[in-house]
Amino acid sequence: MSQDELLNSLCNAVIEGNAAEAERLANQAVADGIEPLRAFEEGLRRGITTVGDGFSKGEYYLPDLVIAAEAMKAAATVFEKEIARTGGIRQSIGTVVLGTVEGDLHDIGKTIVGTLMTAHGFEVVDLGVNVSKAAFITAVREHKPQIIGMSSLITVTAKELKNVIEALKEAGLRDSVKVLIGGGAVTKEYANSIGADGFAHDAEIGVRVAKNLLGID
């Protein structure tokens, strides 16, 4: 298989959401000496962008997108190790630290937003659910994101959104990140009242707001 053929196969494995195949091809690419940054862009990124664009056009649906992202993640781990080993730096349009706030176990909406952001070229650090404010602060220090995205589906935990923003202020980090919030418990008025920078109820709008916050069209 030529390098181009291998990258095409990798791209297709992402589109088909075949994680095992994507990981195998990634290892193959590394073994064949394909430059990992190139493999990432021309294999993985091209695959996820195809699915992301197809999703926007209504050709692909959420199960396609989420499973493609899983395949991408499996292969990306291989390349990231190689990139770190060779001292390269991967480009992205911005880093987003994402999580559902403490006390709230709702995972799906947040995951959809993260997946769609990945498909649009963001580097996404997904902290999962029931994320404490301390864990958000630690992640902001470690990953230096441009955006922190928080979700709260239930009204009882919405106050945590405010607590994280306050904690960012106390840690002197508030000015370093834009705060984007979403989830069933959140309204635009609430977002304004707690001093969030952006708000969205649906994943596509969330991506648009994130891009606007970073001045990307």
């Binding site: 959809i112 009204t155 009882v156 919405a158």
Partner: protein, 476 residues
């Protein structure tokens, strides 16, 4: 005598006996092999004592089949839910069908159609509207929000406001630990609620919901065991798979309920919706929600439990054509299938917003559905063979016949909001459509209807309870 409601004499089955059996066996299998997470120490202890395999570390409970079966057999097939006015007591089970309204979350302002969060006062008027609607037999758990109360005490205020503005029965929730306060309110009011318990799919009984089972069952309130997986997200994408999951969750909750109080009434409540695969949100107006309602009625019948659906629902944002076809198809499917409690009249936008106009329109449609359920009465008097002979061919007619005057109403449905006049009369009347008519009716009721008030001393007791809630939850 309990409230009559409607009777579904011949419920429609959509599954074969074998399919019903496979779904129920699947549920028992899931409960035995995978079990549920129950995040509540006392509930875990009860379940362990009864023979469940409990991992205290992970809070995972595996339910032996014979225990689940014992709990099913412990459920009464039919039971009453007492209202403080005995005429409004509900009889759950059998072929009786009740409709329930849902005046919670937000509501659409009558004047502007803008969505707003209720205050205690505006919620009071919405409950009064439900109180005045003849097809609203019970008022469902009005879930918060209230803009003029702190979130920690919203639920208790919502319940108290409902009790104060309608003597129709209602539902008590368990969110945020409100169940013990609702039980206390009920003992002052002398009535029962359906203790609404919401499972978290897949396969979790959250801590406040487990507490709700303990509180409501112990105090003798029937349980309203609701499972609401979102298909493709928190449940299998397939309808059959989600029926297995939903049944497992409800039966798991029922085991806990029957252990707390054997013989406590338990209602099988279906709330499954598909996830929209583009938006990632609930597609609550989807027709398959209604199909799942049909299957749920049959499964509940098989298990010997009364059934309920937390739908009809719609994704429409306004009381428009979409709201009507989505809601009313679902409602009709559920009614024909014999769902005992068809909930959530008046709701739009996945029940996120209550619309007074939609309430009035739903009331009309539920009346029509009641007519559907009544069917056709066939007897000598109604066959009218003698009359047909007597009237004979034209110029004979039926308008001046005593038979017409005597019987027409029983076989007609008399609409309030539907437009029936001729074109010219409609123009002359200001071209009012269904919405304008519904709006006028809603306006007039919300301005003028005075629900039967609570006795002063009972009202004062509610105040004391609300005060105690604030002391405990807010420290004031």
């Amino acid at each position: 005598m309990p409230l009559a409601g409607h009777q579904c004499k011949k419920p429609v089955d959509i599954l074969t006996e074998e399919e019903v059996e496979r779904i129920c066996q699947g549920a028992l299998d899931v409960l035995a092999e995978t079990g549920m997470t129950v995040a509540h120490p006392r509930a875990l202890a009860l379940l362990q004592e009864a023979g469940c395999q409990v991992d205290l570390e992970t809070e995972r409970v595996k339910f032996p089949r014979d225990l689940v079966q014992w709990a099913i057999e412990s459920c009464p097939h039919e039971f009453d839910q007492l209202a403080r006015n005995p005429d409004l007591t509900l009889h759950w089970g059998g072929n009786t069908i009740y409709f329930g309204a849902f005046p919670g979350f937000t509501s659409l302002d009558l004047a502007t159609q803008e969505r707003r969060i209720s205050t205690v006062d505006t919620l009071a008027r919405l409950v009064a509207l439900c109180d005045a609607m003849p097809e609203v037999h019970t008022i469902c758990q009005p879930t918060p929000h209230l803009s003029d109360k702190p979130p920690e005490v919203e639920m208790e205020w919502v319940l108290a406001t409902t009790f104060r503005n309608s003597e129709k029965t209602t539902m008590g929730a368990a969110f945020g630990g409100c169940s013990k306060w609702v039980v206390e309110m009920c003992s002052v009011l002398g009535q029962q609620v359906q203790g609404s318990i919401c499972m978290a799919s897949p396969l979790v009984i959250p801590v406040d919901q487990a507490q709700g089972v303990l509180d409501y069952a112990k105090a003798g309130h029937p349980l309203h065991l609701l499972s609401g997986p979102m298909r493709g997200a928190t449940g299998p994408a397939t309808m059959a798979g989600t029926l297995v999951l939903q049944t497992a969750e409800i039966l798991g909750g029922n085991v806990l309920g029957q252990l707390v109080k054997r013989g406590i009434g338990a209602i099988y409540v279906a709330y499954a919706t598909p996830m929209d695969m583009r938006l990632g949100s609930m597609a609550s107006g989807s027709i398959d929600v209604g199909i799942m309602g049909e299957a749920s009625a049959q499964l509940a019948r098989h298990l010997g439990m009364p059934s309920a659906t937390f739908f009809p629902m719609t994704d429409a944002k306004l009381p428009d054509a979409q709201a009507s076809y989505e809601r009313h198809l679902q409602a009709l499917l559920c009614a024909k299938a014999g769902i005992n409690h068809i909930m959530a009249l008046g709701g739009l936008e996945n029940e996120g917003a209550f619309s007074p106009e939609q309430m009035v329109i739903d009331n009309e449609v539920c009346g029509m559905i009641g007519k559907v359920l009544e069917g056709i009465r066939v007897d000598e008097e109604r066959l009218a063979i003698g009359l047909i002979k007597e009237v004979g061919p034209i110029p004979g007619n039926y308008l001046r016949q005593e038979h017409t005057r005597r019987h027409w109403k029983e076989d007609y449905f008399i609409p309030q909001v539907s437009v029936r006049e001729g074109y010219d009369a409609w123009i002359a009347g200001g071209k009012k459509g269904v919405l304008e008519r519904a709006s006028e009716i809603a306006h007039s009721i919300m301005e003028n209807h005075q629900p039967n008030p609570l006795p002063v001393e009972v009202d004062r007791e509610l105040d004391k309870i609300l005060k105690a809630v604030e002391v405990e939850k807010l420290g004031i």
